[in-house]
């Protein structure tokens, strides 16, 4: 990576390199090319694809049923039969981690879907109409943003009860604020552009202007927000489950696995280590890929 610059310089000076070899292309092609050049981001993209495959084909890939208890094999260290060992009910830890991928990815995705729907709608409405609509929506976002996230999520979980569906709702309600703020800011800028004025002047309805002219221009922002929001949601899910407010047993979730592993840290430390590694890999992959995506879609933001 650091030698690349040097090689480039040498190639120019020796006359091997010419700018005539560069091709020019459209915004998205350019962005994709920039993304492809970012090797870390590409590695993370592959990791994400692998995670999705693991989640989809969990029943095929998992060596054991994740919920089947085997009291003959309780809290075993990793062996050939159980690659990552077994838990306090004799369940296979590897299989539970594989099934946990399903929980984490679907929570991340669905919570972000909900957050995006709420955030884009409210953000677009606030920016488009301005005035009291903007004031009301902005005050609501402020109240939501004022509270410590985890306590807020706990509060919602407490009110609506635990369970995977409620986690989607709680995390969606928690994370839409950022989307709304970004979209509001961007649409405020877009609103000033000529083509939007033109659309309005030619009698387009508000709905038409928002959905056909304004939101499509925020797509890259939304893509980046969703990609960077997923790891956030995954982290919250893990934390809630660790506190016992998230996914309920016996469903396998990485956070609750670490929670149940905690009493056994001296007896079987690997039990608590492996699910954490799974969380970390997933979150890092989405974070780095999201950063890469942002840099590729908006080269001005690149450092």
């Amino acid at each position: 990576m650091f030698n690349k610059q040097k090689k480039f310089e040498e190639a120019v000076l020796s006359g091997e390199y010419s700018n005539d070899d560069i091709e020019y292309s459209s915004y998205y092609k350019d962005s994709f090319k920039r993304l492809k050049k970012n090797r870390m981001a590409m590695v993370c993209a592959i990791v994400i694809i692998l995670l999705v495959i693991i989640a989809v084909f969990a029943p095929v890939l998992a060596p054991y049923d994740p919920d089947v208890q085997d009291y003959a094999n309780i809290l075993k260290s990793p062996t050939k039969a159980h690659l990552l060992g077994t838990d306090e009910y004799g369940r296979d830890i590897l299989s539970r981690i594989i099934y946990g991928t399903r929980v984490s990815l679907s929570v991340g995705l669905l919570a972000q879907a909900l957050a995006t729907v709420i955030g884009v709608t409210l953000g677009a409405l606030a920016a488009y109409y301005g005035g009291w609509v903007d004031t009301v929506i902005s005050r609501i976002t402020e109240i939501f943003a004022a509270f410590p996230d985890l306590i807020f999520a706990m509060g919602i979980m407490f009110v609506i009860g635990p369970g995977i569906k409620n986690i989607f709702i709680a995390l969606g309600l928690l994370t839409w604020v950022r989307t709304a703020r970004m979209i509001r800011g961007q649409i405020l800028q877009l609103k000033e552009k000529e083509y939007v004025e033109a659309a309005k002047a030619s009698g387009a309805t508000a709905f038409h202007t928002i959905t056909k002219h304004l939101i499509p221009n925020c797509i890259s922002t939304v893509i980046v927000l969703v990609t960077l929001g997923i790891p956030n949601a995954i982290m919250y899910e893990a934390s809630l489950s660790f506190l016992g407010l998230g996914i309920q047993p016996p469903t396998a979730s990485w956070g609750s696995m670490i929670s149940s592993a905690q009493p056994f840290i001296s007896y079987l430390p690997t039990y608590s280590i492996f699910p954490g590694i799974a969380i970390m890999i997933t979150v890092i992959a989405f974070n780095i890929f999201g950063d890469g995506l942002r840099d590729a879609l908006d080269p001005k933001m690149k450092n």
Partner: protein, 329 residues
């Protein structure tokens, strides 16, 4: 000591970017004589600023890099100096003022602090002396209420005032060479004249050599002894101010001359512009870089780059003055 304060020889500064290589300064040679002013003219993007930043060795590396050449100051090659030696030259021997007075001063320090800083680096003054000298400098550049301004922050001053502060700061350590990179471009016309007068006056008073970079031949006419015209990273014409204004040779110089509105023009005359734009630096034409915009271009201009030739002490890069011109179609 040679007769020149600064001799730049075959300087090449390239930028190595994702979009390809940009030859911002490509084989440029020139001299600055003691106590004289060299004017460097050209449109934006022609490599004037990068030339000056190369002398100061302030080119952002990477992506930029001085790949070849010599910068000889007072008989010593600056490119051979280490970081610390170079640091002492910057601000002490060679000072610089920039185009944007609004953003060139640090917003979180007072004007006084910023002038004193340069003094305390390059001289052995203590705080009290540095403060005295700083206020003296503020008075020298004719800032009213210098003592009060000393304690103010840049945002409390107007653009012209800030540029005066920049000049005071640059000259505070008695540099032998002052590089002015478009010092008046961002200012109102009346302020422009004041700043130019001030620079001229201080040059006489302090004997400083000046390298004046601008896109405005009008500014050059006011201050320069020698003139260098740059286009797309190369010198296209180089001579004394008299030569350039009386016998401009390169079609580009002609073009620039015509861009200056003249007082005796009647209202019907439209302002001249050079058609087209400077070619994108990473997409240079094969031949003469000015060829696509040149009204006199022949086929030969598209095919190869003319050399810089000297005619009666005036240098020009154009086929018009070569034997090849007559033969060419």
């Amino acid at each position: 000591m040679s007769e020149n304060l600064l001799e730049v020889k075959n300087l090449k500064t390239y930028f190595f970017t994702d979009g390809g290589v940009v030859k911002s300064v490509d084989d440029v040679s020139f001299n600055v004589k003691p106590g004289k002013t060299l004017g460097v003219v050209g449109e934006s993007g022609c490599g004037k600023s990068i030339t000056s930043l190369s002398i100061m060795q302030l080119v952002e590396t990477p992506p930029g890099k001085i790949v070849d050449g010599e910068i000889i100051y007072n008989g010593e090659n600056l490119l051979g100096k280490d970081k610390d030696e170079m640091r002492k030259i910057r601000g002490g021997e060679i000072a610089m003022i920039f185009q944007e007075p609004m953003t060139s001063l640090n917003p979180v320090f007072t004007v006084g602090q910023q002038i004193m800083e340069a003094l305390m680096i390059h001289t052995d003054m203590d705080k009290t002396k540095a403060k005295e000298r700083a206020i003296e400098m503020l008075k020298l550049v004719r800032i009213p209420l210098a003592e009060k301004r000393f304690n103010e922050y840049p945002h409390q001053l107007s653009g012209g005032m800030r540029q005066r502060v920049m000049i005071a700061m640059a000259l505070s350590c008695n540099p032998k060479l002052l590089i002015c990179d478009e010092p008046t471009t961002a200012l109102d016309v009346t302020i422009q004249a004041q700043i130019l007068d001030l620079i001229n006056e201080l040059k006489e008073k302090l004997g400083t050599s000046i390298m004046m970079i601008t896109h405005d031949l009008g500014v050059i006419a006011e201050v320069a002894d020698d003139v260098m015209v740059m286009y797309a990273g190369k010198i296209v014409e180089y001579g004394t101010a008299d030569q350039i204004f009386e016998t401009p040779m390169h079609p580009y110089t002609h073009g620039l001359m015509n861009c200056i509105p003249k007082l005796n023009d009647d209202n019907e005359t439209r302002l001249h512009v050079i058609p087209g734009m400077v070619p994108s630096p990473d997409r240079m034409p094969k031949g003469c870089a000015f060829c696509p915009r040149c009204s006199e271009a022949k086929k030969i201009c598209e095919e190869k780059m003319p050399e810089l030739i000297e005619i009666d002490g005036q240098k020009v890069r154009c086929f018009k003055y070569t034997s090849e011109w007559e033969e060419a179609k």
